[in-house]
Every structure is written in structure tokens, then in C-alpha cells.
């Protein structure tokens, strides 16, 4: 038997130990490969829509590789520790350290190579399916399967490097100076659980401070907090796992009335030892889960944003023109023409907007007439208004502002034209979002509108008023190809920095919507794939840890069984041993991301006046269900292994 054969057989015959690890590595290779397939796609490389999305994919790949570096290092070290007895025997039989190193190297490479090959294979098999998903998301006509050496080279290169680096590093963790210690093995040495009160309290304080800050985030301090909170909470979480939990358990242990109660004695001490031993692993896994929750939550809240987009932007095509725009007529005719070509029915409304300064707030106000609004309201199917002279209505720019404005009761004068107005309520619908007409919009009666003649202070007559052409297209999602030349002109102007002198502006809600929607959906998709890998890896690590301690646990449960603990009670004990491993990192991640979302909510209120609560709850429930499923799966396997002797 050559060394190579020996290594091969070791891997094959330990396949049960390696199973979970294999699964995690294969899936990560697979996801990585699919990302790279998308990244190098010949069509996708040129699509301008996808630029952001593919930058996201690149970042996701980097995070994935970094995570795998950690995961592989931890796992491989745990494997080697678990097999230290075997290595001890080999060395006692006269194996050199050099040979042992080669053996370990070979084994890891065999595993690495197999998972790379299988991962790429699965990735390639499923990539057509993923392309279909992405095609749907991006609304591209076709995204063909292609064959290129690039994604293969990238995946193989990255992961083989990863495996080789890991195996070289991990060889050094085998200590060969005392063979006897290798043979005696890594029996769990439950050294008295050590912790420091100072660190524990510090950790708790950090977490509480972090949470309080996050909960009280306001628009103004959001940026500072975004820089400050992650390190605070990260350190807090770390200390929480290494020390704070131990202090809690210590407090429980001190109180014998609580501690010496049925299985608590066993489960509390078991949990204490296990947490101490794996504190760092739990820390990493909870931080990664937090990241995954945040990614999924943020992205799905972005897609809510796009769902609400139409509500916030009820106008399909908006052409804003200043009064002196020479192209006005030509552009409008062109747009009408294009819409006809596309076969889309539409209604065109023209709205004249005047600007004045309010005497009440000394801020500029944008004013539209009752007649224009009613025309528009008919097209949109909104309620009509009828105003008397001297009476006006607020026009809300968001739902939040609608609530506030409908309670206002204001007397004001439009300073330049000396028109007195009484405003006592708001129009019940949102017509122009803040980006179209600003945050100060009112509707006045036609009579009053005519009386506004003077231009706003500091402006001439043409600057003070503008025309807005509004095309209402019932099939507003289909308008993304309309007005492409106008878009191009605006983009060029932006690129040259001359956008201020452009006499018109054109907005296509359908295009914006499809752009936002597909970008976010794609990011969400990428995030979900990565989160799935993290999730699988964390679970496989727990499984592996359980598996390596199995013999010892078995012996312990046998002792307990002999002492008269029923099988049902043993099942309960196993539950209590497993639950913290699965759900403590998860719970911390939940709390962390919950507070992160609370501050994110502030951000969203700021830009789009949007509640992300529903999405967040959905995400959390979804992830929790998955976690529960995984818990039952692993518990089932674990109990099956334990049962053998009792």
C-alpha cells in the first residue's frame, strides 16, 4: 500500500465524518462557480443595467472566499484534532513527521479536489437553471448557456489555492513532540471555565450601548452610527460569547435552588463547557448570520421599495420643460409617435407650474391650478377638487407628509403676486413625488392662478414657471423603450456636467422601475445563494463537532442511563445540549440585525418613506424556519448515532 493509497482509503472510509464538510465545500464551490459563470457571461459583460448587480456578485465572491478560508481552517483543524489518536499510533509505528505531513496534505487535497470537481460539475449542471432565473429577473430576452475556460479557471484556481494554503497551515497544528499526547488524544479537557467579570460587563455594556444607539438613530447621526456601530456590536458579540454568557451561567450555578433542579445541573454545565470551547466559532457564525440577515433584509426591503414605486410615482412618463424650451413641441410629438409605435394607449396632460414665495414659511412654493389638477385626476382616476377663490389645498409628496399636511390649517400670502390664501387640508392622493415638484406644492383655484403674474424673486418670467407634460400609460411597465433618445441626451448632459442648462427633463417611470427592480432582485438572489452557503457551513461545523465528541458523549449517556435516566429524559438532555448550539448564535444574530434594521428604517423613512417591518419579519421567520428544519435534521442524525448502545 503506497502512501497515496493509504490517504485515499482514509478519506473513503471516514466518509461519514467528512459528509457534512463535503456538503458545505461542494455547495460553496458550486455557488462560487455559478457566480463566475454569470460574471464572465459574454452578454452580461456588456449590459449596462447589470453593472451594479455584477459588482455585487464580485463582492459576494470575495466574502464567500474569505468565509470559506475561515470555515475550512476551522474544520480541517477540528478534523486533525479528532484524529490525533490515529496520528499518534502511526508515529508510534515509526512514521516520520514528513510522511505524516504528506499524508495529511494528500488527504486534504483529495477532499479539496473532489469537492472542487463535484462543485463545478453541479454548478455547470445547474447553471442553465440559474441563468433562466437571472434572465427572468433582468428581463433579458435570452441568456444562453455558454462554455468558456474563464469561470472554470477562476473557480479551480481559487479553491485549489485555498485548500493548499489551508492544508499547509494546518499541518503545523499537529504537535508531534509528544507522541503520547497524540495517542491520548483530544479528550475534551473541561478546564474550569474561565472568564473575567470585567470583560463580561464590558461586552454587555457594548451591546447595550450599540442597541440603544441603533434604536435611537436619527437622520442626522445615521452616518456616524453606520461607522461606529459595527465595531461596537462586533466586539460586544465576541465578548458576549467568551465571557458574558459564562457569567450568566455562573450566576445560575451559584444559585443551587435554580441550578440543582432536575436536568438543569447537567444541561447548564454541558452548555457552559461547550460554549467556552466553541466561543469563537459561535461568534463567527453569529456575525456571518447577522451579515446574511442584513443582506437579505436590506435587499428585500429594496424590492419593497420597487413594489411601492408605482404608488409613489403614479405618472408614467414625465416631460418637464421650462417656459423657454425650444424643443418642447418636437419632443412631445416624438414621444407620442413612439408610444403609438409601441402600441401603447395613453392620455396626455399638460400642467403649468408657477413658483412663488410663501409669506408664512418664506420658502418657495410650487403652484398648479385646479383645472390642470382635475385633468390629471381624471386620467389617473383620482378624486376631483373644486376650489373657491382664496382657498387652496396642499399637495402631498409622500404618504407621511399626507398625514401631516391634512391636519394643517394655514393662512398665507404668495408674496410676489400678493395673493392671499387659506389652506386647510390636503389633496387625498400623491401626484408628484418630491423629486418632481419638491416638498412644497399647493393647488389653487383657477381665478387665483390667473392672478399669479409676478415671477418669483430672483427669477425672470420664464424661469419662474414651467410646463409638465404627463403621459399616463395604463401599461406603464412596458414603456421602458420610449424616449430613449431623450434619456441619452440627459445622460450626456450629466456626463458633461451641463445638466443645469438643459431646458427640459424627462423621466420614464417604467424604465426606472425595471432598472431598480431587476438590480435589487439580482442582488437579493446573489445574497440568498451566499447566505445559503454560510448557513450550510455553520450547520456542518456543529454537526462535525458533535460527531467528534460522539464517543465521549455516548459514554456519558450510558453512565446516565445506568444511573436510571430514562431514554425520554436522555432525549430531553440531548435537546438541551443541541438547542443552544443551534439557536444561541442565531438568536444573537437576530437581535443584532433587528437593531440594525431599526436604524435602517430611519434611512428608508428619509428617502422613500417606507416601512420595511413586514419584509424584516418575513425574512426572520423564513430563516428561523430553515434553522429549525436544520436543527431537526441534525438532531435526528445525532440521536441515531447515540442510540446504538442504549
Amino acid at each position: 500500500m503506497t502512501l497515496r493509497q493509504f490517504a485515499f482509503r482514509n478519506v473513503i472510509r471516514n466518509s461519514r465524518v467528512y459528509a457534512a464538510f463535503f456538503m458545505a465545500s461542494i455547495s460553496s464551490v458550486m455557488v462560487f462557480f455559478i457566480y463566475s459563470m454569470l460574471m464572465y457571461h459574454p452578454r452580461v459583460e456588456n449590459e449596462f443595467v447589470t453593472e451594479i448587480a455584477f459588482r455585487g456578485m464580485f463582492i459576494a465572491e470575495i466574502i464567500l472566499v474569505l468565509f470559506m478560508l475561515f470555515f475550512l481552517f476551522y474544520s480541517v483543524r477540528a478534523f486533525l484534532e479528532a484524529r490525533s489518536k490515529e496520528f499518534g499510533i502511526l508515529m508510534q509505528l515509526g512514521m516520520e513527521k514528513k510522511q505524516l505531513n504528506r499524508l495529511v496534505l494528500l488527504e486534504i487535497l483529495i477532499i479539496g479536489m473532489t469537492s472542487v470537481i463535484l462543485g463545478i460539475l453541479f454548478g455547470f449542471v445547474f447553471s442553465k437553471f440559474f441563468f433562466m432565473v437571472v434572465r427572468e429577473i433582468l428581463e433579458i430576452k435570452s441568456l444562453a448557456l455558454y462554455f468558456s475556460w474563464k469561470p472554470f479557471a477562476l473557480t479551480i484556481g481559487t479553491f485549489m489555492t485555498l485548500f493548499i494554503v489551508i492544508s499547509y497551515v494546518s499541518i503545523f497544528t499537529i504537535k508531534d513532540d509528544h507522541v503520547i499526547q497524540l495517542i491520548k488524544g483530544t479528550q475534551r479537557k473541561p478546564e474550569d471555565v474561565t472568564f473575567s467579570w470585567a470583560r463580561a460587563i464590558f461586552g454587555m455594556v457594548l451591546l447595550v450601548v450599540g442597541y440603544v444607539l441603533a434604536a435611537n438613530a436619527t437622520k442626522s447621526n445615521l452616518v456616524t452610527l453606520a461607522g461606529l456601530l459595527p465595531p461596537i456590536v462586533t466586539l460586544g458579540t465576541y465578548l458576549f460569547f467568551t465571557d458574558t454568557v459564562q457569567v450568566f451561567l455562573k450566576l445560575i450555578r451559584k444559585n443551587k435552588h435554580v441550578y440543582w433542579r432536575k436536568y438543569r445541573l447537567l444541561s447548564v454545565s454541558e452548555v457552559a463547557a461547550m460554549l467556552k470551547e466553541n466561543a469563537r466559532m459561535f461568534f463567527i457564525s453569529s456575525m456571518v448570520s447577522t451579515l446574511a440577515f442584513l443582506a437579505i433584509g436590506t435587499l428585500s426591503s429594496l424590492s419593497t421599495f420597487s413594489h411601492k414605486y408605482h404608488q409613489l410615482n403614479p405618472l408614467s412618463l414625465v416631460y418637464t420643460s421650462s417656459a423657454d424650451n425650444p424643443y418642447e413641441h418636437r419632443h412631445i410629438t416624438n414621444l407620442q409617435h413612439e408610444l403609438q409605435e409601441e402600441g401603447l394607449s395613453y392620455r396626455l396632460d399638460r400642467v403649468v407650474v408657477k413658483r412663488q414665495t410663501s409669506s408664512k414659511t418664506h420658502a418657495p412654493v410650487k403652484i398648479i391650478s385646479e383645472k390642470d389638477l382635475n385633468n390629471l385626476a381624471v386620467s389617473l382616476g383620482y378624486p376631483l377638487v373644486s376650489l373657491e377663490k382664496g382657498h387652496a389645498l396642499f399637495l402631498a409628496y409622500s404618504e407621511e407628509s399626507l398625514k401631516m399636511l391634512s391636519k394643517e390649517n394655514v393662512y398665507t400670502t404668495l408674496q410676489e403676486s400678493n395673493v392671499k390664501l387659506h389652506i386647510d387640508s390636503a389633496y387625498p392622493k400623491i401626484v408628484f413625488p418630491a423629486d418632481k415638484l419638491g416638498t412644497n406644492q399647493i393647488i389653487v383655484s383657477d381665478e387665483d392662478f390667473k392672478r399669479i403674474y409676478a415671477p418669483m424673486t430672483g427669477m425672470n418670467g420664464t424661469q419662474s414657471s414651467s410646463h409638465i407634460y404627463i403621459f399616463n400609460v395604463p401599461k406603464w411597465q412596458d414603456t421602458k423603450y420610449v424616449g430613449h433618445d431623450l434619456e441619452m441626451m440627459i445622460n450626456t448632459a450629466y456626463a458633461m456636467g451641463t445638466e443645469a442648462s438643459l431646458p427640459f427633463y424627462f423621466e420614464n417611470t417604467g424604465l426606472d422601475y425595471s432598472f431598480i427592480r431587476s438590480t435589487f432582485a439580482l442582488l437579493l438572489f446573489i445574497g440568498l445563494l451566499a447566505a445559503a452557503v454560510f448557513f450550510l457551513a455553520a450547520g456542518s461545523f456543529i454537526y462535525f463537532k458533535l460527531y467528534t465528541n460522539l464517543e465521549q458523549e455516548k459514554k456519558q449517556y450510558e453512565t446516565l442511563y445506568r444511573m436510571g435516566v430514562t431514554k425520554k429524559e436522555i432525549r430531553k438532555l440531548v435537546n438541551r445540549q443541541l438547542i443552544p448550539q443551534f439557536f444561541l448564535p442565531w438568536a444573537i444574530a437576530m437581535v443584532n440585525s433587528l437593531f440594525a434594521f431599526i436604524s435602517l428604517q430611519v434611512f428608508w423613512r428619509g428617502i422613500a418613506d417606507l416601512s420595511i417591518m413586514r419584509e424584516i419579519i418575513l425574512v426572520m421567520v423564513g430563516v428561523s424556519l430553515l434553522q429549525l428544519l436544520y436543527f431537526y435534521l441534525i438532531r435526528w442524525r445525532y440521536l441515531a448515532h447515540l442510540k446504538i448502545n442504549i
Binding site: 474550569d192 454545565s269 445506568r562 444511573m563 436510571g564 435516566v565
Partner: protein, 257 residues
């Protein structure tokens, strides 16, 4: 009346090779007796102990403890039976590594849900008795083998079981600790009138008992009772052993005239 009654117990292990571990084995243990069971490896000692400790069922025959046949009970009742009536001492102590000495001892009581004051009282008395008061806060990996076995004895005694079963309790101990542990068992046997059944290889350990039962190939071989002198009892045990063991037997045939 006998506390433990073993009647015609037979245990056959089915498998590729059917193996009769015990064959119509019978004996009785009186209340307050300290009994040693000796025999060469593979003679069925451990099988016998497993049958008495109810984690294994006899193929045929009857085992009765204090008038109850535990093998008539269902699994849960059986577990409660073990929890209440039996105390175990193992060769490798089987202390739970994450519990300290005190917690290890109190474990059987917490499972029963006893109130804390009573548990604390029992621990105090027992720790005094076993000389463990100073190391109550220590963990099993921080104490010596003798102390660990004493802890295990404490664990076996704390719920005041009807019968204490010991499987090679001195197998992992040095001679000083062996002496300590055996004297302790003897003292408990004397003072508390506890009934102890101990399986052992060690003739010195056996010599602390009231009676030694010899078993060979799953069958009763011989038994001897303690006399006034431990020395002569020890010699007696050695004599039976020399008749008993495979290799020892070879020697004796050489010695024969």
C-alpha cells in the same frame, strides 16, 4: 430473607457465534452483605453485573431484588427502579467531566427532584464521611484517582440505594488508594449496613469482603467466607484462584506430585 436472589439465570448471546455467557447460575445475597464475585476474563462476571443492574435481560431465570423482579417492569419503571434502588461504582469512575465533585455526587438526587436543603445536608454528611470536603469545588480532571473513585462512591450512596454494584472499583487505582477505597466500602458496609456486590480481579480487593463467589465459564465454581484473619482469607482466595484460571491451572498441574 435474601435481598438479592438469582435463580437459574442463563444468558445466551445470539450472533454469528452463539455464546452462552451464563449458565443456570444461582446465588443469593443477604441484606448487609459485602460480596465479591471473582473469575477469569470472559467468565461472565460483567454479564452477571449487567443483569443485576437491569441494563441487560436474562435469557431465562429469575432475578429478584427485595421481592421485585425488575425485568417485569417496563422501561420507564425500570429506569426509576435503577434510580431508586441501585448505586453504581465503575472501574473508570465515569464521573461527568463538566460537573465538579459536589455536583457529580448530587446528580442522582437532582434527577429525582429532591429539595435543595435536603440535598445539601446529605452532601455535607457524605463529604465528611468520604473526606472530600476540601475538594468539593474541584473538577474530576483536577483530582486523583482515589478521590475520583470516592466521589463516584459518594454518587452511588447519596440516594441510599438498596444495593450497591461495583465493577472493578480498584482496577484503576494505586495500592494506597485501593486500600482507602476498600476500607471505605467496608466501613459503609459495616456502619450503614449497606449491601454491596463487587466484581473484581484483585484478590486483595476481594479479601475485604464477607464472601467471595467464584465463577468460571458462566457457571458457579466455588465460594468462600471470610474468617477472622484477612491474611488467611486472602490465602484462601489465592488457592481457589490457582485452581480456577487457565494459565494458573497449568502451573498447578506442574506442582502436582
Amino acid at each position: 430473607m435474601a435481598l438479592l436472589k438469582i435463580e437459574d439465570v442463563t444468558k445466551v448471546y445470539e450472533g454469528k457465534v452463539t455464546h452462552r455467557a451464563l449458565n443456570q447460575f444461582s446465588f443469593e445475597v443477604e441484606k448487609g452483605e459485602f460480596l465479591a464475585i471473582m473469575g477469569p476474563s470472559g467468565s461472565g462476571k460483567t454479564t452477571l453485573l449487567n443483569l443485576i443492574s437491569t441494563i441487560d435481560r436474562p435469557t431465562s431465570g429469575v432475578i429478584e431484588l427485595d421481592g421485585v423482579n425488575p425485568h417485569d417492569l417496563n422501561k420507564t419503571e425500570l429506569a426509576y427502579f435503577r434510580r431508586k434502588e441501585l448505586g453504581f461504582i465503575f472501574q473508570d469512575f465515569n464521573l461527568l467531566p463538566m460537573l465538579n465533585v459536589e455536583e457529580n455526587m448530587v446528580l442522582p438526587l437532582t434527577l429525582d427532584g429532591m429539595n435543595v436543603e435536603e440535598m445539601q445536608r446529605r452532601i455535607d454528611v457524605l463529604a465528611q464521611e468520604l473526606d472530600l470536603t476540601k475538594i468539593l469545588e474541584k473538577r474530576p480532571n483536577e483530582i486523583s484517582g482515589g478521590q475520583a473513585q470516592k466521589t463516584a462512591i459518594g454518587r452511588a450512596l447519596i440516594h441510599r440505594p438498596t444495593l450497591i454494584l461495583a465493577d472493578e472499583p480498584t482496577g484503576n487505582l494505586d495500592s494506597k488508594s485501593t486500600k482507602d477505597v476498600l476500607e471505605l466500602l467496608g466501613r459503609i458496609n459495616q456502619r450503614e449496613n449497606a449491601t454491596i456486590v463487587m466484581v473484581t480481579h484483585d484478590p486483595i480487593a476481594a479479601s475485604y469482603c464477607d464472601r467471595v463467589l467464584f465463577i468460571k465459564d458462566g457457571e458457579f465454581f466455588n465460594e468462600i467466607y471470610k474468617d477472622n484473619q484477612r491474611q488467611t482469607f486472602f490465602q484462601g482466595i489465592l488457592n481457589v484462584l490457582s485452581l480456577l484460571g487457565g494459565n494458573v491451572g497449568d502451573f498447578t498441574s506442574v506442582r502436582l506430585p
